[in-house]
């Protein structure tokens, strides 16, 4: 194949991949402004489904519930995930190390259905013996935090691994007690990783449907659960509207964060270049 053709082929291939990835989303967004009640037939543009969404108390409360669960479970995940990552990285030897490390990774590889089912069975028997927890908000949080902890531990671990262990030693050498080493050096350097662990576990929780379905009780329907159950009854354009709102929010967040990181990176590069030209002068 000639070089030129190769190039065109590459471009076409890229286009096809992007179409495959984004065309459904674009269609969904466009059709959320469709006036027709049929999701497949375009009549004319309107905000009809957005006002329907505003009036749909069930869906609104489901979105709120999902946001709440995602926020709290992400916080819990980051908190516990950091502990796990620390134990596994900073303490070389303790009883049950291998056990903890495999247990921490288990939720990553175990099918979610199994995790959900196991949790459900456990919670049911705990409730049987102790009288709580009632299935609902708390149990969903628990399940999401469990899954999120595993992911957060992975993110924090990778940052801890690339962080220079000498920094801890330098801090200790200069008179920091172990807890001061953490608060003054390790934690500030870990913040970016904690933020990305938070964002990751937040989105994991926000769109989780399997665990939520197992662990929720009457009256606790998260947004993905509502969308899922309504989609089975027949597609309703309100779903398109809520999806569009979600996509908009997520896109803005992603773009903002990537702008921020590239800005920081560029500033750093500029300053480093300056430092070297200073040194040469």
């Amino acid at each position: 194949m000639s070089h030129g053709l190769n190039k065109y082929f590459g471009k076409a291939w890229m286009l096809a991949v992007y179409m495959f990835l984004y065309l459904p989303i674009v269609t969904l967004v466009i059709y959320s402004f469709n006036d027709s009640k049929l999701v497949t037939v375009w009549s004319h543009a309107s905000l009809r489904w957005y006002s329907a969404l505003a009036a749909d108390a069930d869906l609104i409360s489901a979105v709120w519930l999902s946001l709440k669960i995602a926020f709290v479970s992400a916080l819990m995940s980051v908190f516990f995930g950091t502990f796990v990552a620390f134990a596994l990285n900073r303490y070389k030897r303790f009883v049950g190390r291998t056990f903890l490390s495999s247990m921490a990774n288990m939720p990553l590889v175990m099918p979610e259905v199994i995790v959900g089912l196991a949790l459900l069975l456990m919670l049911v028997s705990v409730q049987h013996w102790l009288g709580f927890p009632e299935r609902g908000l708390f149990t969903i949080l628990l399940g999401h935090a469990l899954l999120g902890t595993a992911y957060a531990a992975v993110v924090v671990t990778s940052r801890l691994k690339e962080m220079d262990g000498r920094l801890d030693e330098a801090a200790m050498d200069l008179g920091s007690k172990p807890w001061q080493v953490f608060t003054l050096v390790t934690f500030p350097l870990l913040v970016p990783a904690l933020v990305s662990a938070f964002l990751l576990t937040f989105t994991l929780s926000f769109d989780d449907v399997v665990l939520s379905a197992f662990l929720s009780g009457p009256g606790y329907n998260t947004m993905p659960m509502v969308i899922f159950s309504r989609a089975r009854l027949g597609l309703n354009p309100t779903i398109n509207a809520v999806a569009t709102v979600t996509i908009t929010v997520v896109t803005i967040a992603v773009i903002a964060s990537s702008f921020y990181t590239s800005h920081v990176e560029r500033k750093r590069k500029r300053e480093m270049a300056l430092a070297y030209s200073d040194a040469i002068r």
């Binding site: 220079d164 030693e169 200069l174 008179g175 430092a275």
Partner: protein
């Protein structure tokens, strides 16, 4: 030991007050890896002590035990007569300058230097005063507000030095302090570093694998191998009077002859090797018939085209390589035995002094006092 030991005439060893004493310290990793093996050492106040050795010989491990990052498997460490073996790192009046500097990336130069002082709960105005002084010492005053990544390698190195000196430690540990700098910067920085250390008057233990660095900076050195000390002494003693083949080989260049002692008299020794007979102008503690090595530094070998007089201390060979270094030239002479003898000639005039070129026959000769007899 078969070498005549030179009396310790280093002026530094006379009026010395002991600061650090290590007694039979060992570190065994994972029950099998002997990183440090029964090392004892005394370091005196005000001295720069160099730990020299190849990669993996246990230099860093020894230093890390002094800093308190690693607990010795066995042995004791005393600082100013106080047992600090079990004192945690943050309570030791010892500071360390790290190989990769380990500057805190989220703190400015000023805050990096103030870090240790703040941990001590020093009043704010005193901290400011001390930091300014340290910045002046390493000439970085105008860089105070910068972050470490905004500094060049040499500047980072000076911040690391200032940070480790700020608390006025009793002992300063330096792990390959110049390892991350390029060769040219390294030479100027060596002297600068020694100047600053002497100005402050702090006692140092310096780790390096570069023998020239150890020689220029340290007042005493220990040559380490596989976790133990091969030899401890002034740089010139270790260079001129190595006590084993390993030390002779590690410090500088050396021609090593293998031979047998023929005559063993109180005032001289002769050693017969394949290449020639060596006449050594002093007695040694060996005996006739003993297998020994004769070490000869290239700069002590002279070359000529005429056959030297006498039966001793010369060898004939063919010039197979001439390496020009500017200030001096090294000639490689292939002897009849197959051994390649290196001879270093100083280029004192502009035409190459002895007029030898590739393929020439030449005679190498040396004096009675040029070589060292080694039994180990």
């Amino acid at each position: 030991m078969a070498t005549a030991s030179k009396p310790q005439t280093g002026m530094k060893s006379a009026e010395k007050e002991e600061l650090l004493r290590i007694e039979g310290i060992s570190k065994i990793y994972d029950g099998t890896v002997k990183a440090v093996d029964d090392v004892s050492l005394t370091v005196y106040k005000g001295e720069i002590f160099g730990l020299l050795g190849g990669s993996g010989c246990g230099k860093s491990t020894l230093l890390r035990m002094l800093a308190g990052f690693e607990a010795p498997t066995k042995g004791k460490i005393y600082l100013a007569e106080q047992d600090i073996t079990n004192l945690p790192a943050y309570q030791r009046p010892i500071n360390m300058m790290f190989q990769s500097y380990a500057l805190f990336p989220h703190l400015s130069v000023w805050e990096n230097i103030a870090f240790g002082l703040k941990r001590d709960g020093m009043p704010k105005d005193q901290i400011a005063e001390r930091v300014e002084k340290m910045l002046g010492l390493v000439q970085l005053t105008k860089f105070a507000p910068r972050k470490p990544h905004q500094l060049s390698g040499g500047q980072q190195q000076r911040v690391a030095l200032a940070r480790s000196l700020a608390k006025r430690p009793q002992l300063l540990l330096l792990d390959e302090p110049l390892g991350a700098l390029d060769k040219k910067l390294r030479e100027t920085t060596q002297l600068e570093l020694v100047n600053i250390i002497e100005q402050v008057g702090v006692t140092c233990v310096l780790v390096t694998h570069d023998q020239e660095e150890a020689m220029t900076m340290a007042s005493r050195i220990a040559v380490m191998s596989e976790g133990y000390f091969l030899q401890v002494g002034d740089p010139d003693t270790v260079y001129e009077m190595p006590n084993s083949r390993k030390v002779a080989d590690f410090i500088g260049n050396v021609n090593m002859f293998e031979g047998v002692i023929e005559e063993d008299e109180p005032d001289h020794v002769t050693v017969r090797s394949l290449e020639c007979i060596h006449y050594v102008g002093h007695g040694i503690s060996g005996h006739a018939g003993m297998q020994v090595g004769v070490a000869l530094r290239p700069e002590k070998v002279m070359l000529s085209k005429r056959k030297p007089k006498g039966d001793y201390n010369w060898a004939e060979g063919e010039v197979i390589e001439i390496v020009y270094f500017g200030a001096h030239t090294t000639y490689h002479l292939k002897l009849a035995s197959g051994m390649v003898l290196k001879a270093q000639e100083i280029n004192s005039t502009r035409d190459l002094s002895c007029g030898l070129t590739w393929g020439d026959k030449a005679y190498a000769h040396w004096s009675n006092e040029a070589m060292v007899v080694l039994t180990q």
